[in-house]
């Protein structure tokens, strides 16, 4: 899984340390839900551009 703390320190400007307890847990939870879904994407899939483009 992503090392969010390291990422938060590496970007410019860095995420202030005191915000990390609010910032990171939600990202960890979201990533845990997202990775299994991500693996199901067929290789030829384009991004979504609107509801008429669903088919």
């Amino acid at each position: 899984m992503t090392n969010w703390k390291a990422l938060a320190a590496a970007i410019e400007p860095p995420v202030p340390e005191e915000l990390l307890p609010d910032v990171i847990p939600a990202l960890e939870k979201l990533e845990a839900a997202f990775r299994p879904l991500e693996r199901t994407i067929p290789p030829d899939t384009l991004p979504w551009f609107g509801p008429e483009d669903d088919a």
Binding site: V23, F34, E38, T45, G50, P51
Partner: protein, 454 residues
């Protein structure tokens, strides 16, 4: 004459010369001045402009110039919608003094239709939250209980309509921001199909999730407003005695029935029975994976919003703590995750769209609970505790991800006297179906006329 009647009734009074636009505007301004210190629904009241517009409406009507059903109707615009020469804050300290040089497309459309702008309504900071408890402009209060939130982010618009101050208001909906306050305040809220209503001149938030919508007391009033701003409008108005004969309504038996407050579920089930009694073919069905839509939506939205707002992080102290947290989270989402979320969105949209081969609309609760108290951060469903933001958005966000139209309307009241809302969802461009179903249900349920004592 008061403004606690429908737009159609007000229009008839104006055309029948039983009421002038000037009188209506003065009455509206008086009500706003009286109630706003308690509700904080309006950030700006445009008295002078409203009087000028009302006089123009009276002049037009005297000369036989009829601009349609919105002529002379008081309206308020959410304060993230640009109004030329009128401060437009987006609920943010950073934009506290921003005065646009042009009107948003929908503002121009309502102006051209003769609507009379009364002012700008309060919202969650940057429209990025569900409480409208704004750190810079104060909490917007729910007219049904002043110690509770109106929902958000279009909280001021919903509160103003619910309190009977105005019959129609604009809102924006990126993750439920029209339908959540509609549900908490007991009004009707429409999130149209993605891109059905112009976003020009609306402060962007989630670039591929933003929708411009409307809030009013009845589905027919929403229909009148929608006829003004919708691209390719059919001008549809639900008939006087709308019914649901032959309409195929799906009621999900997964996800949308999980972790719902018992009183909300009771009212929702009663509304489903009402739909069946009105002639609808009601079918219990399963939706593919609504939670996956929420995951995809949250990842992509976090990234999109931060792309817009990160530039202001040099003024961290000017953000409220909840919005600042979200902006920081969004900055950390890798571009690869953003793009894969958007690819997954297409896969999910394709799966979900299959339901429209055998359904006309889907009916769900709008929010799993009634309005929480101001300052409450969590809500309990039995032994399960959930934060207010996640709970309020989980039933509505999926349809921002899909871009489908959705209508929230009241379907009952809790034992504490708080409104309970349901949601009708349709295939792209089928707002008329939702408005027809909404009008039929509100006629049958008979609760649209119930108003709070503010």
């Amino acid at each position: 004459m008061t403004v606690s009647v429908t737009i159609g009734e007000i229009g008839a009074a104006l055309r029948g010369k039983r009421l002038s636009a000037r009188e209506l505007t003065e009455e509206t301004l008086r009500r706003v001045a009286d109630a706003n210190p308690r509700l904080n629904a309006f950030l700006t009241v445009t008295e002078a402009e409203a009087r000028v517009r009302a006089a123009a409406v009276d002049d037009d009507l005297a000369r036989g110039i009829d601009r349609g059903p919105l002529q002379g109707i008081p309206i308020a615009h959410k304060d993230n919608i640009f109004t030329r020469g009128v401060r437009t804050t987006s609920g943010s300290k950073i934009f506290a003094d921003f005065v646009p040089e042009y009107d948003a497309a929908i503002v121009s459309q309502f102006n051209d239709a003769g609507a009379v702008m009364i002012g700008k309504t309060g919202l969650h900071e940057f429209a990025y939250g569900v409480t409208s408890n704004n750190p810079h402009f104060g909490a917007v209060r729910n007219p049904w209980d002043l110690e509770r939130i109106p929902g958000g982010s279009s909280g001021g618009s919903a509160a103003a309509v619910a309190a009977g101050l105005i019959p129609l208001a604009t809102g924006t909906d990126t993750g439920g921001s029209v339908r959540i306050p509609a549900s908490f305040c007991g009004v009707v809220g429409l999130k149209p199909t993605y891109e059905r209503v112009s976003r020009r001149g609306v402060m962007p938030l989630g670039l591929t999730f933003d929708h411009v919508g409307l809030l009013a007391r009845t589905a027919r009033d929403v229909a009148l407003g929608f006829g003004i701003i919708a691209k390719h409008s059919s001008g549809y108005m639900p008939p006087g005695h709308a019914d649901l004969r032959g309409m195929r309504i799906g009621v999900p038996e997964n996800f949308f029935v999980d972790r719902i407050a018992p009183e909300v579920m009771l009212s929702f089930r009663a509304a489903v029975q009402t739909a069946a009694a009105l002639g609808a073919h009601v079918t219990e069905m399963r939706l593919p994976d609504p939670e996956a839509l929420n995951v995809v939506g949250r990842i992509a939205q976090l990234s999109e919003v931060s792309a817009l707002l990160a530039r202001y992080l040099g003024r961290r102290g000017d953000f409220g703590p909840d919005v600042l947290t979200l902006v920081e989270q969004g900055r950390l989402i890798p571009a690869t995750d953003y793009l894969n979320a958007q690819r997954l969105r297409r896969v999910l949209a394709r799966d979900f769209s299959r339901i429209w081969t055998h359904l006309d609309c889907v009916m769900t609760p709008a929010t799993p609970m009634t309005a929480p108290g101001i300052g409450e951060t969590s809500v309990e469903f039995g032994s399960f505790t959930e934060d207010v933001r996640t709970a309020a958005t989980r039933l509505v966000r999926p349809f921002n991800v899909l871009g489908w139209p959705a209508l929230a309307l009241p379907c009952g009241f809790s034992s504490a006297g708080l409104p309970i809302g349901l949601q009708l969802v349709g295939p792209p461009q089928q707002e008329d179906t939702l408005l027809q179903a909404g009008a039929a249900l509100e006629d049958a349920l008979g609760i649209a006329g119930r108003r709070p004592a503010v």
